[in-house]
């Protein structure tokens, strides 16, 4: 470790705790880019882990997640709560580029000192969230945000990962998705803590809500669970239904705090964070060990993939 590095990371962490937005922005970059100082920051921030409610906003593209995020920010700000937002959009696997377009709908809150938003590319992570999302969350928690909204686009399987990051998952659909709602995959049904039918202003909400409710009832076992995911119709465009959604999110947070479920979820989150951290480190270290000679030997058939991989994996240590 470089000597000056530890001191400057500590200063940065102090700035984050003191509420300095520039420090927070820089800390987030170090965490997201997995810079050498990221480890120091995670260790400095982790003691605040679990303080904030992490709310996942997931659902198919274009269902109004970002617009709704803007509404939820206003709702929480009205209650005097500080809100951090992490919005993840897919990175192109071909170019590494990404269009991070969620800020467009939240930008009206940009100058509010109680709001901080960061857009992230998924950067090669299957599952719709970037692998460094946990570090980013730690930074926002250390900065004192009590509600952290994580927006991810759900396309098929991806919704599942948000459930390993968030305390409360709000799954956003629209009446316009029609049959897709009924055909919604079992996995999606399981991860939602609340199902939001957005764009209620466009009509068809009653049918969408009742379709969703029957789909949820079908998947339900005989015993009553302490939390049954409610279905709520909202319009992010007009604000209709947003206070109801806000209350449901609060009820779920209380449910988590008042039962063993909150602790169980946080334990699962820590496990996921550890698994990501370890697999990234080991993978990189292992790949660094591939030598030109290994490849030469394989080209000449003097070695084979299994033998090379075994040699490489044997001494890998953190």
């Amino acid at each position: 470790m470089r000597a000056g590095s530890k001191a400057s990371a500590a200063a940065l962490a102090q700035g984050v705790r003191a509420g300095d937005k520039r420090s927070l922005a820089r800390a987030l970059s170090l965490l997201i880019d997995e810079a050498p100082d990221a480890d120091i920051l995670i260790q400095k921030f982790f003691s605040d882990s679990g303080r904030a409610q992490k709310i996942g906003l997931s659902g198919p593209p274009g269902t109004g997640k970002s617009t709704l995020c803007g509404r939820l920010i206003a709702h929480f700000r009205g209650l005097g709560l500080r809100v951090g937002v992490l919005a993840v959009d897919p990175t192109s696997p071909l170019t590494g580029g990404a269009f991070l377009g969620d800020r467009l709908r939240v930008q009206e809150h940009v100058s509010d000192p109680g709001v901080f938003m960061r857009s992230l590319g998924s950067r090669g992570m299957v599952g719709g969230v970037s692998q460094t999302i946990f570090g980013a969350i730690h930074a926002l928690e250390a900065a004192g945000f009590s509600k952290i909204i994580v927006e991810t686009v759900g396309t098929g399987q991806d919704e599942v990962t948000i459930a390993k990051v968030a305390d409360t998952v709000a799954y956003v659909t629209t009446p316009q998705l029609g049959d897709e709602i009924q055909a919604m995959k079992a996995g999606v049904m399981e991860i939602g803590d609340v199902f939001v039918v957005n764009k209620a202003d466009l009509g068809g909400k009653d049918k969408a809500v009742s379709d969703l409710r029957s789909a949820l009832a079908l998947g339900r076992g005989p015993e009553k669970k302490p939390w049954e995911p409610p279905v709520v119709a909202v319009s992010a465009a007009t604000g209709e239904g947003v206070p109801e959604l806000g209350k449901i999110l609060e009820d779920h947070w209380r449910h988590l705090m008042g039962s063993g479920e909150g602790r169980a979820r946080r334990s699962a989150q820590h496990k996921e964070e550890l698994s990501l951290y370890i697999s990234r480190r080991l993978y990189r270290k292992a790949l660094d060990r591939i030598t030109d000679e290994d490849l030469e030997r394989m080209l000449d058939h003097r070695s084979d993939p299994v033998a090379v991989a075994r040699r490489i994996l044997k001494p890998v240590r953190g």
Binding site: R22, S29, G97, L100, L104, Q107, V110, R118, S119
Partner: protein, 138 residues
């Protein structure tokens, strides 16, 4: 050996009152396709909103697109606010309908590069690819 190259982040913003953002969106797409992470703020942004978004997103460059002719006041305001917020390393560039004779004054006021109408997208991409590693040598 795995070498992961740094992904540069660029904010594209439209200050001022004109409501057309087709041009800005074309640039957004070109930069994304060239491997940048591009954040778009939308239209009718005040210099304060642009600078604050640049800060929170910790971008490496800010591109301003303007057709309404207020560039001589708005561009330097963004430059000043970026500096005030401690974002000295950020590359600020602008495009739109900007007469040649305004360019030297804009450059003096902290706008690093100005692209006139009809600039090929490849020159904007090339400009960022060349200048970003230098501007953010960290």
């Amino acid at each position: 050996m795995v070498t992961e190259k740094k992904t540069y982040r660029v904010l594209i913003a439209k200050p001022g009152l004109d409501g057309h953002d087709r041009g800005a969106k074309v640039i957004v797409r070109a930069l994304r396709d060239a491997g940048f992470e591009v954040i778009y703020t939308g239209i009718r942004q005040t210099p304060e909103m642009i600078a604050e978004a640049a800060l929170q997103e910790d971008v490496d460059a800010v591109g301003l697109s303007l057709l309404s002719g207020a560039h001589m006041t708005l561009f330097p305001q963004v430059a000043g606010l970026l500096k005030k917020k401690g974002m000295k390393g950020v590359l600020l560039f602008g495009g739109g309908i900007i007469p040649d004779e305004d360019v030297p004054a804009l450059k003096k006021k902290g706008v690093h590069q100005v692209f006139g109408p009809g600039t090929p997208l490849s020159s904007i991409v090339g400009y960022l690819q060349e200048n970003l590693p230098r501007a953010r040598g960290k």
